[in-house]
Amino acid sequence: MTMAARRARGEERRASISRAWIIACALVVLGLVGGAAFDPRPERPVVRRAGYRVLEADFHMHTTYSDGTLSPLTLVRQADRRGLDAVGVTEHNTVLAGRLARAWSELTGGPIVIPGEEVTTGGYHLIAVGLETTVSPDQPIEGVVADIHAQGGVAIGAHPVKRFQPGLAPVRAELDGVELMHPIAFATRNPDWRWLDLLTYYEETTPRPAAIGSSDYHFASILGLCRTLVFVHEPASAGAVVEAIRARRTVVLDPDGRLLGHPELVALLEREPYVPRSSDYAYRGENAADRALRLLGLAGVAGVAFLRVRPRRRGEAKAGAGPAP
């Protein structure tokens, strides 16, 4: 084939890509540029109060290993973006995702990742933080909590709504923590999942467990929406976080900003207020350019998905649906 023929064939191929599809691809590129430019890694300043290091933590999240939408790798990345110092990756009935997330976080200098598990049964959900091997849910709950403690972990009653309270009853006095802040405090579809039931359960449990706030992250932007302030002995580490939970040195903020948790630490924060790092849970965007580029990018994705790559050739019959790659 001569050079001229090759050039003509190349031009024919280029001309055979539809202009609309090319514009859609360009919009996707713009969206990706915006996605990279407006995705900064916020500072995680070292905060101390009364000799403790204060960490912001989220102990309940899921990955693509079960019903989450983020992989262990991108979950760690997003936790970092949301200013979380420590996270418990607590997959349903397996610690595998947590261990992967920890390895990735150590490699990339991300937050402290503590492998854990959400022991999930029909009668209760129990967050276990600080595990190396999976705790089997196929045993009575007393055995589950014993196994968690034998590994040096802590057992946290997950979203103890009325439905799950009977299941947790045999171990209520042995719980290290109770999830009393959960996204249902802000919005819920299920009328049986009431945030006030979580608060009441926490306040009526004796001995008083650690106050825990978690996002129960599966999807969307709520990672870190509810978080726990953990007061650890330095150096900050997974072991220090678990020890702090065991010692009940945690505080959470309710939807009205009221402090709940260890009485001395609550008093401390009332004297020396601490404002937890926030994140853009409502998709407000950084600025107008960010909002514009992300919408253009999404429009581009729709165009790439739904527009013909190659224009219909002259003389091609108009069928009900023109064939297209």
């Binding site: 539809s18 609309a20 996707v28 969206g31 990706l32 915006g34 996605g35 990279a36 407006f38 995705d39 693509t64 290993y65 079960s66 939408t69 983020l70 790798l73 991108t74 990345r77 997003q78 349903h92 009935n93 397996t94 999930t120 049964t121 029909g122 089997s136 849910p137 196929d138 802000f186 919005a187 579809r189 999807f219 969307a220 932007s221 990672l223 409502a282 998709y283 965007g285 960010d290 909002r291 580029l293 992300r294 919408l295 990018g297 999404l298 994705v301 729709a302 790439v304 998905a305 739904f306 527009l307 013909r308 219909r312 069928a319 009900g320 649906a321 023109g322 064939p323 297209a324 790659p325």
Partner: protein, 190 residues
């Protein structure tokens, strides 16, 4: 017409699959093209809903994380097709099937758009996500039937059996994964 097969099939699934079945050469659907389209949209929606924008790394990783979706679908199509026909070419069936993701692409993109546009995303999502997902599930089954019936030329009874088998096998794959991982069983019997 500007619209691709994925869009056209949503509106006219039966005529669309008839036309697609006649397509040849560059116009014929491909397995890779269909799979990449689906995974690209999934990646974009995951990135948009998690990070609030088209974050490249989240998009790229999600594209690979969800690669099991088209794989599971193709297993279901293969099993269903071979149960009703020994002669229909499998590769052709795969390519035609993967051209029919339009309902799911629309539902996913709509969910991402709600997140970016709605003033109160959580409340709007609670309202619109269930009908979007259920609608996509129902209409995608119509497209699957149309694929078997008009795209692959099966008789109506065989196409119906294949569509039902496809749903059963796909559900079994998903349930089997969660049972194998120990995530579903304890929720059912403990």
């Amino acid at each position: 017409m500007l619209l691709s097969a994925a869009a056209s099939l949503v509106v006219r699934p039966f005529r669309g699959y008839e036309a697609l079945a006649r397509a040849a050469g560059d116009e014929a659907p491909t397995i890779l093209g269909g799979a990449i389209r689906l995974l690209f949209v999934i990646g974009a929606v995951v990135a948009t809903t998690a990070a609030g924008r088209l974050a490249p790394i989240e998009l790229f990783v999600a594209t690979f994380s969800f690669a099991y979706v088209p794989l599971a679908q193709l297993v279901a199509v293969g099993v269903a097709l071979r149960a009703v026909s020994r002669t229909v070419p499998i590769r052709r069936a795969f390519a035609l099937y993967l051209a029919g993701h339009g309902p799911w692409l629309i539902a996913l993109l709509a969910i991402a758009a709600v997140c970016l546009i709605a003033p109160s995303p959580a409340e709007v999502l609670f309202a619109v996500a269930p009908p979007l997902v259920l609608g996509a599930l129902a209409w995608s089954n119509v497209l699957t039937f149309a694929c078997f019936r008009r795209g692959l030329g099966l008789t109506a009874p065989r196409a119906g059996i294949a569509t039902a088998l496809h749903s059963i096998v796909l559900s079994a794959i998903v349930a089997g994964y969660y049972l194998g991982m120990g995530q579903l069983g304890p929720q059912l019997w403990r």
